[in-house]
Point group: C2
Chain length 541, copies 2
């Protein structure tokens, strides 16, 4: 790369040189991206699951960072990686969030509506209540750790902020392993649903705590709850609204162009279909951004909003697309999300190598990892207990699924994003400590948990060939589309249990609303959900 | 939109408000994009060729701009459209440049290698010599116009800069009409090849003139030529080098993964193929950027480099991709290029409405349009004369093709990009005048020429059903893959003609080099070019 610096003289002098340095940085980044992709491909081809793609990217970033450190050109190279927060939030995070919704692999493991809806109550419990528990437990433990001089001391509110941001789990690596190895659809729905909604909760909690921190005077607990609901419900409503708008528009476009389904009738219909696909895809790419911008414009959380837009679009708009458009949209989000994710992991590896380490950070990282393990256990096992209280015997979440759920709590891009924001939100030392700790935690969990998830899931016997049969059918046998009506056998009339069941029933009435009104209205296929199920069943044979 | 300003109070005050305004701007832009796409789709469905998509976008931008002007919130809205030059050059221009290479429509009108190579000499003549002629003629006429007080007076070098930037033609609208209506493959290859290479020439000329302007002292004509060759040949070499690297890597990836073509042999091969496609697509997206950055890092022109990378990638790397990857890459570039282009046209319309107009600008615009028409005539007819001198009788470019070529000289995104740069390169008033004039010229040519090209081409009888037959065969009948060996009938021994023919022969020896060495080495298909041809022929039936 050195020869680039002695390239033909540019008359514009210093600013041009700076621009050139930025160019060299981007060149280096592109080379690292290419290397990561090729390496990831080779590793996957040899079924070497101990080093998933994310870890490979991390290690490449780490290696380049260490080399840069040794070659003493640190300041120069540091400048190459000028990582704008805005760039991250606007261009890297949205595809990473959206991709999981639109996976359409041949192995049939996309977010199928049935297992998702029948586990909706459990998912919401894990994601909303569980994440709240995990955040508070982590926050309190980190605060106590600070008080007892085990680790760097942070104010209580900042501990809660850290607890919230570190509770955002990342589905990508675990889900990709699930997809390759095959697993129970219910477990898949739980892990996926939890890790998706959990981000929304973590962000809302983080924002609420951030508001509390900046207005220390006269904040009642009531105001706190209002602020939280404002962020969460507001962003959710904006996201859901944009999602339904997109469903409506895609529905109208499809109706308007419905004669295109018979290409032989029109002379240039081939081209028209190409253009229709392009239009559909454009709308699909634009609406999530619209949702993001609308929420941010309203002072809400764009990421939470985009999440809910993704959910609604997956369920309603996506099925309006033609087959080829569905394939394209899926491949498109796959492409940009893997580019974005690889970039984030390379950056994290690089950052770790560049960081000035101090012992206080090492202690903070070590105890944080311990505490988030405890907090995740508090989340998973308490929520599973609650969910099992409300479920009939044959639908209880088995212990091995609970353990798998506990183990699959990787931290990823979202925790990193919030930590990046905390550097701006908190005073210098504190934000930097949180950022360093979060980066290290993400790297360690990705390397350790990501590398061992395959083995762990096999030991828990939740993956492998016995689950590899016709998933659709085995699902069909266990759980209907409509949540079961709790036949007789639940006899105890405990009031708390009743409440839980009411909540479950409201879930099933939402399912009915969806099936009877929303799906027929917003999509072109009346109620042919079974088609999806057949696809799921067939594709695994 | 107004309610967004009185949204829930944000504690961070003014900078947050600014960010909110930017958010509202992006919201508005997304809405305009959605509207443009839907409107464009409706217009195309009704075969209303007088208002192509580009014009529709322009008019939407214009309308919003006028409304914003009337509502007197000009300053506010102006701020919404903070259009960063860097954003344009890095994110909008590359897909617009690359897309035409990877068109893969069902009507078979992509850049087929045969007509392109057999017209290579003509294309190079039009693009290199012709663009030089057009630039110089425009520059001189604009200078003379300034001297005779017909229009705003610019220094001679700046006139040449303007001449160079306004000579960059835009293929997209014309080609899309050609694609919908069908035309002669030779004319298509000429128009396409000329408009692609012509950009490279225009940029290099512009940069050379820009260097001359900033170093007025002691620049000999010799240095000028050296500078020009440095930019042009340097950028071309960088682009071609990266293109061949990409071909080699894609070739290696395909060889390494070649057993994936038999998915039944492997249990999870379905997923592997998905991942392979993702890898291939990533490489395809990354390499053009690598080329851009490499050239910019070397102080050369990234856009010229990306152009040549596109040419090489189209010819060698693209054929290594699997069918589904080819479809995906094509749809991907279609998507982002149409987003980028629509955005640029909306912006131009908006800018026109916002601009403070003065009479000097109107005059400048009027005479510029006159002069570029004259300059384009000088380009097309003189080059066609030269080409026809060297060609045997049955391959001469007919007058109606020359007229069609003259007429299809729309100005588009590239001229706009260079004008945007000239605002920075030239003193305040001059750069602004050139920018305003260029924007207006682009808008007018797109509206007038774009809207009437269909009619014009029909009047010239170069489109329509008589050309709609098996194109491959009619091409086969007229011109072989190897340029013909000038059998006997060219008897006159004029030295100039001999030179021209030597040039033509060198073109055909390049064709032989490509066929015998490059294509077999860099691609997986040995020499099955005929396959492409059959595709071309069949698809029109």
């Amino acid at each position: 790369m050195e020869e680039l610096h002695i390239s033909p003289a540019d008359p514009r002098g210093s600013p041009a040189k700076e621009q050139q340095a930025a160019g060299v940085g981007i060149l280096l980044q592109i080379m690292m991206l290419v290397l990561s992709f090729v390496l990831g491909h080779v590793l996957r081809r040899h079924r070497f699951y101990y080093l998933p793609e994310a870890s490979a990217s991390l290690l490449i970033g780490l290696t380049v960072g260490v080399l840069a450190n040794i070659s003493n050109t640190e300041n120069n190279i540091r400048a190459w990686f000028n990582f704008h927060e805005e760039f991250f939030f606007l261009f890297l995070l949205p595809p990473i969030i959206l991709y999981p919704f639109f996976v359409l692999t041949q192995s049939g493991f996309s977010l199928q509506p049935k297992p998702f809806f029948s586990n909706f109550g459990a998912i919401v419990t894990f994601a909303i209540f569980g994440t709240f528990v995990a955040s508070v437990v982590t926050g309190i433990l980190v605060y106590l750790g600070g008080v007892t001089f085990l680790m760097y001391k942070l104010p209580f509110v900042e501990c809660l902020m850290f607890g919230a941001l570190i509770s955002a789990t990342d589905p990508v690596t675990v889900l990709s392993i699930f997809q390759e190895l095959g697993t129970d659809v219910n477990l898949y729905a739980l892990v996926f649903g939890e890790s998706v909604l959990n981000d929304a909760m973590a962000i809302s909690l983080y924002r609420t705590m951030s508001l509390v921190r900046s207005h220390t005077s006269g904040q009642s607990f009531f105001m706190l709850v209002v602020r939280f609901l404002e962020t969460f419900v507001g962003s959710m409503s904006a996201g859901v609204g944009v999602g339904f708008t997109s469903a409506l528009i895609s529905f109208l476009v499809v109706c308007y162009s419905s004669d295109l389904n018979f290409p032989n009738l029109f002379k240039y219909a081939g081209l028209d279909i190409d253009n229709l696909q392009n239009l559909e895809s454009c709308l699909f790419v634009l609406f999530p951004y619209f949702s993001y911008m609308l929420a941010e414009g309203l002072g809400l959380s764009g990421i939470v909003s985009i999440l809910f837009t993704g959910i609604v679009m997956k369920h309603y708009s996506f099925s309006n697309l033609s087959d080829s458009s569905q394939k394209f949209v899926s491949a498109f989000f796959h492409l940009i999300s893997s580019l974005a994710e690889t970039f984030v992991f390379i950056y994290m590896g690089f950052d770790i190598a560049m960081e000035q380490h101090s012992w206080s950070h090492i202690g903070f990282i070590f105890f944080s990892i311990l505490f988030i393990g405890i907090a995740r256990a508090a989340n998973v096992f308490s929520c599973a207990y609650l969910v099992n209280l409300a479920r009939p015997a044959h639908r209880k979440i088995p212990m091995k699924h609970q353990k798998a759920l506990w183990y699959s709590g990787l931290r990823g891009a979202m925790a990193f994003a919030l930590a990046l924001q905390s550097v701006h939100d908190l005073p210098e030392g504190h934000g930097q400590t949180i950022f360093t700790a979060t980066t290290a935690i993400v790297v360690l969990t990705v390397l350790l948990i990501g590398g061992s998830t395959g083995t762990m899931l096999e030991n828990l016997q939740v993956v492998g060939d016995e689950h590899d049969g016709p998933l659709g059918e085995s699902f069909e046998a266990n759980n209907g589309y409509i949540a079961p009506s709790y036949d007789g056998e639940s006899s105890s009339g405990n009031r708390f249990k009743m409440k839980l069941k009411e909540f479950h029933n409201s879930t099933s009435s939402f399912t009915a609303l969806d099936k009877n009104y929303l799906t027929p209205f917003f999509t072109t296929h009346g109620g042919d959900e079974d088609e999806h199920d057949h696809f799921l069943g067939d594709s695994r044979r």
